[in-house]
Symmetry: C2
Subunit: 229 residues, 2 copies
């Protein structure tokens, strides 16, 4: 990966769109660029949190881990997505871990600079509030899916949400952005269960699977089949 | 319930502790007191959201509902707790429903007034950010419990967290604040499964159950039995 200028990267992120040039320069001074290789761990549960991360290139998984070694993928963050804001505001240690799924470039933005701009720029405060609220909404959707939907409904909902905006019907193709194991964990099913569901949907003539490429043959029929909006 | 003065109620809430007397008066002008009877619905999924709620007295359940009528208790909010901030900041319709579990007194604080104070008072913006972050943390804990812990572990974790702060060992008694059905839904188990778990813990000599009163006989043994922190 070539080198990037930190202010340029910050200016491109919607979260920082309310900042003036002077403010961008101040935040930039508290921002570190992190280049990590595939599989690298960014932090573990219990590590101190001194800021938050934004993914510029690549992909990072956020992991929940129990003391007996069980783990679950909580979130997969791609370019433009941020994580760790809530932990930073709580001033607590991390309660999840983060690992790069591929070679990635991230920004780490220091807590002090963020708090300083919140105090100086109400519009930036609003944007941080909106970002946290969006994240909260997504978590509630996940909670809802895990508790009120079965595995097949969760897989179908994932496929349907991955299609292009506006395409409510017809056929479309998606390429899974991460391995089936990681995606299965995110959807809270086993790798085997995930494969079984894809087989069932394939036998029902709803999808066609070729490696990481999945073609949904009829979005309307898939929605009807599993009863998800 | 007797009448309360809105500014007095607002002044007692930690969320508004950073506001000056003038600011309290402004927020108060945009605040409505709601007295609701047991079972009353505050709002449904899809209703417009023009502010957020704080519970002053009583208890409110937040519900996730699917189109086919399945529902799950997402949260039980008691005195001092607020809900709906994230929906308010997102400027979306409610994605959950709220129903009073008992006769309750609530405040509804209008969006305009909140946004106004965020623009005027960075400390208030920080407190809203901290409140949202705390809520996000709780949701992640729920997600972790549902996906990585079994029903018995979830019940034990609930009992252990209900004891007084600092009591890490010994025996203690709690009175369930809501019906076993509501609590079971919150813990994502059926009412029957919840009773079965209490029976098992009782047979193992770890708890003593008498109606809504549960005595944990030895907190350390209970923790060890289920393997939760």
């Amino acid at each position: 990966m070539s080198r990037y200028d930190t202010p340029t990267l910050l200016r491109q992120l919607p979260l920082f769109s309310a900042l003036s040039e002077e403010e961008i320069q101040r935040v930039s001074a508290a921002t570190a660029q992190l280049r990590v290789s595939s599989g690298a761990r960014l932090f573990s549960r219990g590590d101190p949190c001194n800021g938050f991360h934004v993914v510029i290139k690549g992909r990072v998984k956020l992991l929940l881990e129990t003391s007996d070694g069980a783990e679950k993928v909580m979130e997969i963050c791609g370019p433009g997505q941020s994580f760790g804001e809530a932990v930073m505001f709580l001033q607590k240690p991390y309660f999840f871990a983060a690992e790069a799924l591929e070679a990635s470039l991230l920004l780490h933005i220091g807590r002090g600079a963020v708090m300083n701009e919140i105090d100086n720029n109400p519009e930036f405060a609003r944007q941080m509030l909106a970002a946290l609220s969006k994240r909260l909404h997504q978590l509630v959707c996940d909670l809802e899916a895990f508790t009120l939907r079965d595995g097949t409904q969760r897989v179908a909902a994932y496929l349907l949400q991955e299609r292009g905006e506006g395409e409510r019907s017809g056929s479309f193709e998606i390429r899974l952005p991460v391995s089936k194991g990681v995606l299965a964990s995110k959807l809270n099913i086993t790798r085997e269960h995930f494969s079984r569901i894809l087989n069932e949907l394939s036998n029902a003539g709803l999808v066609h699977v070729q490696g990481p490429v999945i073609r949904v043959l009829d979005a309307v029929k898939l929605r009807q089949h599993v009863g998800v909006g």
